[in-house]
């Protein structure tokens, strides 16, 4: 990992409204390979909306979306997946009544002729979990319903890795987890980035943010207050950016950032 890696995703001047309500204002955001970028902000700041725009769930109203320096148009999750962008939502997109392998291959099953190629899928799933040093899952044929919160997050992340994602976005992956499971998920997050993937982590927990991130992007009322290196800011500066949009020289030009 070099600190100067060029961004794989660059958003420039993104606007997004829901009906009359503008939720994102002129947002710029960079995501770099080999780095964890923390996306922070108060409740309702627009974090989930921003990543849903990146993931093709919400169309953007204005601005540019560059992927590997080329402007792209992402209109659906399928478009995002084709670029190698995977999003793990907090309310996980895993199916309770399916097992781990079935979940990891859902909609993208391997077939041999007309029949499912279970052996290959099992092998690929096991290899992926193994490659992530995931040791907590006892059987890959276990129903997802029987997994703990941390294990579910792990499977969802492994699914993103299995499909060779270049960008993995995690929306509050540790919010519902206890200390031990959070530690495992954070280590997994760090390992993804150390393996060259561009990772975005949304979290309200500043210890989680400072423990694993290389950069911190703070949204304030739908505006990007600052995107800074984690080695250049303090906890109190980040809290100020979150709560008031500015901190010293950092942040939005006017207090409250509500110049329109």
């Amino acid at each position: 990992m070099t600190a100067t890696a060029t961004p794989i995703v660059q958003l420039r001047g993104i606007d997004k409204s829901f009906g009359p309500v503008q939720v994102l204002h002129d947002v710029s955001f960079d995501i770099r390979p080999g780095e964890v970028t923390a996306l922070v902000g108060d409740n309702g700041a627009g974090k989930s909306t921003l990543v849903k725009c990146i993931g093709g769930i919400h169309p953007i109203d204005g601005g540019a979306y560059l992927f590997e320096d080329e402007q792209v148009h992402v209109h659906s999750p399928r478009d995002a997946a084709a670029l190698g962008v995977e999003i793990v939502y907090q309310d996980l997109a895993l199916c309770d009544n399916l097992d781990i392998v079935q979940n990891m291959f859902l909609g993208r099953e391997k077939r041999r002729g007309l029949v499912l190629d279970d052996a290959t899928m099992e092998e690929m799933a096991a290899k992926t979990l193994d490659g992530l040093s995931v040791r907590t899952v006892t059987s890959i044929r276990q129903q997802v319903a029987s997994l703990s919160g941390g294990q579910r997050q792990t499977v969802a992340i492994a699914k993103a890795v299995l499909w060779n994602s270049k960008v993995v976005i995690l929306d509050e992956p540790t919010a519902a987890l206890g200390v031990a499971q959070t530690a495992q998920v954070l280590e997994l997050v760090r390992r993804l980035a150390d393996n060259g993937i561009a990772v975005v982590l949304i979290s309200h927990n500043m210890n989680d943010v400072f423990a694993v991130s290389d950069r911190i992007a703070a949204l304030y009322l739908g505006r990007m207050a600052a995107q800074v290196k984690a080695s250049d800011v303090t906890y109190s500066q980040v809290v100020e950016l979150i709560t008031s949009g500015r901190s010293g020289d950092l942040g939005l030009a006017t207090a409250n950032g509500v110049t329109l």
Binding site: A3, V179, A183, N207, A230, V233, Y235
Partner: protein
């Protein structure tokens, strides 16, 4: 004036280097070895067959063959031919392991250690007992090529004398020599400080793999430190260096330290300090108690949060000093400091960002150890393997002769 290395020396060096690659990576194709060592294919072929006929490596088909193409052979370490013994004189237990080439744990035994004074003779006796059982259970013809032992204290590198190990109450114990004699394996025991071994293990096989400059901080009853600089374990003049836990951060009115001083990092940020700050009495000790504080903080308990906040502050101050002095690429938190780091990373990072100079911290990575509680034992094993990896055939012959009938 010294003449250049002889062909024999070059060959020995190459054998050692190849064996080290295979020992650390587990299995490598000849093509990768050729690439990594910058030698031509026939030289690699020759080296591999020499090591194979000594029983140190074998060539075989890779386990998970991809679907397409003809799989090429990989070179694997033979874990059953050459092994080491690794000992860890822990705070509350003695651990012993027999570890094969390649790093496989072949045998592992442990016994609890009641708190307080333990004579070095008692510990030596117990470890020798484990050694007898483990060597006895080894395959006939396999060779013990080294013994490494970890203690929580300051160790004279020259002869393994333990100058001070407060948690077992040792002073100037000839532990290395006594244990060597008591084992009677004809293999000298190498003794090292436990956190130094943790650093070595993480550097070779864990979260610091590939990183030549790292600082490892190990928390248990105290705070130990191990420093790898330019790929080498720092020890200083006699091996006593790296006592990160006794770096003075708050000498005026700071807390009393086990070393007799005041305001050492260990006194301000160690287990005792955390538990007391969280309002727990002297009966609360150990990893479970530390975990309980981190969990209480996670649930929102104000006292636990405040305690982690303060401890994180001191840890950050300590790390900032280390970062300014050593410019490490990676700082690793192991033992109970793993939990403490995850529970107070905001404070730790903030202190580093405030006190460390911009150039020394700009590429700094903070990580938790990847090897867990086995880091120390793995480090002891790696130390014990070092002779074999310098001159494989000589080491094997020397020790086989001792062990032979």
């Amino acid at each position: 004036m010294k003449a250049g290395p002889s062909l024999e020396e070059i060959r020995r060096h190459n054998l050692g280097t190849l064996l080290r690659h295979v020992h650390i990576s587990g299995s490598l194709s000849r093509a990768v070895l050729t690439d990594r060592m910058g030698l031509n294919r026939s030289t690699i072929l020759g080296l591999v067959s020499e090591l194979a006929s000594a029983g140190l490596v074998r060539e075989e088909l890779p386990r998970d063959t991809g679907r397409a193409g003809r799989p090429s052979l990989v070179v694997r370490p033979e874990s059953d031919q050459a092994y080491v013994l690794a000992f860890d004189v822990g705070v509350d237990r003695l651990i012993a392991a027999r570890i094969g080439l390649g790093g496989a744990f072949l045998d592992r035994r442990e016994t609890p250690l009641p708190p307080g004074h333990r004579s070095a003779a008692e510990v030596t006796e117990a470890l020798a007992g484990f050694a007898r059982q483990m060597v006895g259970a080894a395959r006939e013809g396999s060779v013990c090529v080294g013994v490494g032992a970890a203690v929580r204290g300051t160790v004279r590198r020259l002869d393994g004398m333990v100058r001070a190990a407060p948690y077992v109450d040792w002073l100037d114990e000839e532990f290395g020599e006594d244990l060597t004699r008591r084992l009677g394996l004809g293999v000298p025991v190498t003794v090292e400080n436990e956190a130094s071994l943790g650093a070595l293990a993480e550097h070779l096989r864990g979260a610091g793999a590939g990183c030549q400059d790292l600082v490892y901080l190990h928390g248990d009853i105290g705070i130990g430190g191990g420093i790898i600089s330019g790929g080498h374990l720092l020890g200083g003049d006699a091996g006593y260096g790296g006592e990160v836990g006794h770096m003075v951060v708050n000498p005026r009115g700071g807390r009393r330290c086990g070393c007799g001083g005041r305001g050492c990092l260990e006194a301000e940020a160690g287990e005792r300090a955390l538990l007391e700050a969280a309002g727990l009495g002297p009966s609360a000790t150990g990893r479970e108690a530390v975990r309980a504080v981190v969990e209480a903080a996670d649930r929102g308990d104000a006292g636990a949060r405040g305690a982690l906040h303060d401890i994180g502050d001191w840890l950050g101050i300590g790390v900032a000093n280390l970062v300014n002095l050593l410019n490490p690429r990676t700082v690793l938190f192991g033992g109970t400091l793993r939990e403490v780091f995850l529970g107070s990373a905001a404070q730790i990072r903030s202190r580093i960002n405030t006190h460390a100079l911009t150039p020394t911290r700009e590429h700094l990575r903070l990580r938790v150890g990847a090897l867990g509680d086995d880091a120390v034992l793995i480090g002891a094993a790696e130390l014990a393997f070092s002779q074999l990896l310098v001159g494989p055939l000589e080491a094997l012959a020397r020790h086989a002769a001792v062990a032979g009938p």
